[in-house]
Amino acid sequence: MGKTMSQENSVGEHRLANGLLVLTKEVHSAPVATCWIWYRVGSRNEPSGCTGISHWVEHMLFKGTPNMPRGSLDRTIARNGGTFNGFTWIDYTAYYETLPADRIELGLQIESDRMVNALFEDEEVDSERTVIIAELEGYANYPETWVDEAVKATAFTAHPYHHPVIGYKHDLQAMGRAQLYDYYQTFYMPNNAVLVLVGDFETDAMLMQAERYFAPLPVGPPLPRVHAEEPEPQGERRVTIRRHGANEFLQIGYLVPDCKHADFAALAVLDAALSGARSLTFMGGGAQTNRSARLYKALVETELAGSAYSSYMPTRDPFLFELGATVLESRATAEVEAALLREIERVQQDGIGDDELAKVQKQLRAQVAYGGESVTNQAMQLGMWEVLDSYRRVDTLTAELAAVSADDVRRVAQQYLTERRRVVGHFIPEGA
């Protein structure tokens, strides 16, 4: 086991012989610790006909192992005063337990066990099928779900970012135990995983425990790679969804580079100039910073829209830079779309001001500090960045963003936020 230094506030990196990467960070501000395991698998790994399989496998990891039958996992964590969850996204699947620090070994025990021993019993597979379909139907009650799926499906013609993480209902009805178990055995391997431990512990003792639980797990065969690449879009595409609903809204997506690309930081600054620098994880908890930003001023203050947003997130492959707004009753959607696009054109022509750059820096510094209050949030950032690129990005990001100039922002807006790279999704309520 190669081991680097470990001390408060620095991340230790350790590689087990079976390929599992272990990241540790001591944080002694509260007697709490968190254990995360990240797998490099998500809906981008799913072939057509098996959409939703990554998420279904995630659900099955809560359905028991020979050592920990169904129901005992959540009861054991609760009995120890902990919280837990799992989630699946386009690029990754992650699980965590946050516990009183003296109970953190339980997280290692659970995650090492279910990395290899999940049962996938037939009747549990069938029971979970309907739970997931219920989850899908719950999302389908919201018009936003239909528009988001249509925008992604329109934007991605060759790349699996085309389909929703939850999957298509037909695929969920058709898949069975054999496919799920095969998928699990393919991707749930120590050499495809990252273990992240953050909290009130001594690193050396923590590593000995990690070694004890995870070192015996066997290395898997090489993992299948995703070769698909979205071709350069050749023109604007539009999609209109008509369903029962309350308000018209727009969701616009531009195909933009992934998080390893040199333009990532400039695009992130552009996003922050449009709608405020946000917390870099999706657990929230940061400060609201959008009401002095460009989109709020141009769309909400002018009473065109009830809300307006932009979004750009780190992803493994090129994904979407998105804009959106909900149209106020008295206004026309065309006006709102024109106003959103005008804000992009303004940046393309004039760039952004030095005062905006300075504001984004300060906001980001504050958001990083707010996120640092919770060990769960810290571990989430380290794990997410490691599966996308490198955990070191958590530390370098502030400097990356600080190095962005107003010209860089103008250039990326000109280069990527173009008509031909754009998909415009439009929701029209009907029958209301």
Partner: protein, 429 residues
């Protein structure tokens, strides 16, 4: 492992509690482990004090505080705070009107200055009020289209008499919010008073300096009228089943809510009901309800129960989101679990697990500045005392099987209850 691995109760017991000369209560805790500070506060005036025809005025007033003060416009407030990565916010609720902010510790004075202006001298500029109304109406129309909103509204209407403020949702309806005048906001704001205000400040701060800052910003604030009494009408427990089915075109899933009138936070059987509810519908994947409806039958993605024990007796409710074809099966499962729970109460193992969870997870809620501030605020609202977290394990461990069965039989029922089902037409009868 460091020192306070057991309960971290010192985080709360060592907080400073100060009552300003005008009656405002401040709770301050220094937490030097991060360079941040959280402010959370509330004024104990809310939707419970509003007239039925002005339903939504408390929420509207709370949200309008930031829309302009005697010395700053809305645009100035957000520009000045966001420029420094801080945020300030306010919003009304059922029993209280909340406010708060987050900042790097160096920016706490700005946050307190702005919050004090928002609470003491809001101006409710006409144009800003109209902008806010437009945003409210848009989101109200959206939530009216959600089965969960419709089911919640129906449950409250069925459980509480029309003169009871719990018979309505605090958000108001598109009709009432459209009719609220600026003068109504001004009038509601006159019920804000320092004697009704609690403010918790947690972070990398010097408590004595914070007290001086609070005196400076809030010390001159005086009540404008007599304090509003909380006088909730009596609630009659349903003696039979009151059911409402709401057909919603274009929806795919139905929301089912079962409910009975519950209890107040100050009632003697509160802890028995809370621990009982933990076992019935919360612990793990949603307690016994989650185990039955989600894990065993695979009917729902969510199934849980909640007991809303506040200054008044809110609903004790169970809910699930299911395919319209499974509505009756889900209702049967909810009733089965409630009947079984009233008959036998929890097993010894379930009770031990619930106690262990409630006491063991205390430290998790006291990790962040927001978590600590929220705990301090709840302690103050319900008069629990700063030794509450230290006493908490004994309180929870003192809840017996018999206490839980008694509370369950007092409140839960499979004969007299209300039921609301909102979802796609055709599958709900």
């Amino acid at each position: 492992m460091t020192q306070n691995t057991t309960s971290r109760s010192d985080t709360i017991t060592s907080a400073m509690r100060v009552v300003l000369s005008n009656g405002l209560v401040a709770l301050i805790q220094r937490n030097p482990s991060t360079p941040t500070v959280s402010v959370r506060g509330e004024v104990l005036t809310g939707a419970v004090h509003e007239a039925a025809e002005l339903n939504g005025v408390a929420v509207f007033t709370g949200a309008a505080l930031i829309r302009g003060t005697a010395s700053r416009s809305f645009q100035q407030i957000v520009a000045e705070t966001e420029e420094r990565g801080c945020s300030v916010n306010a919003g009304g609720g059922l029993h209280s009107s909340g406010f708060g902010g987050k900042a790097l510790a160096e920016d706490l004075p700005l946050v307190l200055e702005v919050l004090a202006e928002m609470l003491i001298s809001p101006t409710f500029p006409e144009h800003e009020v109209e902008k806010l109304r437009g945003q409210f109406l848009l989101s109200l129309r959206e939530s009216e289209q959600e089965p969960g909103t419709q089911a919640s509204r129906a449950v409250r209407r069925l459980l509480y008499p029309p003169e009871h403020p719990y018979s309505r949702l605090s958000s108001g309806t598109p009709e009432t919010v459209a009719a609220i005048a600026r003068a109504d906001l001004l009038a509601f704001h006159r019920s804000y008073a320092p004697q009704l205000t609690h403010i918790a400040i947690v972070g990398d701060v010097v408590p004595e300096a914070v007290v001086a800052e609070l005196e400076r910003r809030f010390g001159g604030w005086q009540a404008q009228q007599a304090l509003p009494p909380l006088d909730l009408p009596p609630v009659v427990r349903p003696s039979t089943v009151l059911r409402e089915d709401i057909a919603m075109p274009g929806k795919v899933q139905s929301d089912v809510i079962w409910a009975v009138p519950g209890l107040r936070r100050s009632d003697a059987d509160y802890y028995a009901a809370m621990v009982g509810n933990m076992i019935l519908g919360r612990i793990g994947m949603g307690g016994r309800l989650g185990e039955n409806i989600r894990e065993e039958q695979g009917l729902a993605y969510y199934a849980y129960s909640g007991v809303e024990a506040d200054l008044g007796a809110g609903p004790w409710a169970a809910a699930a989101g299911v395919n319209p074809e499974h509505v009756e099966q889900a209702i049967a499962a909810i009733l089965h679990e409630i009947e079984r729970f009233c008959a036998d109460g929890p097993t010894d193992e379930e009770l031990a697990d619930a106690r262990a969870y409630l006491t063991g997870s205390l430290v998790l809620g006291l990790e962040t500045n927001d978590g600590i501030a929220g705990t301090l605020l709840a302690i103050e609202r319900f008069g629990l005392g700063l030794d509450y977290i230290a006493r908490y394990p004994a309180i929870i461990n003192g809840v017996s099987h018999a206490d839980i069965v008694a509370a369950a039989r007092t409140y839960l029922s499979v004969e007299g209850y209300v039921l609301a089902v909102a979802g796609p037409a055709g599958g709900t009868q």
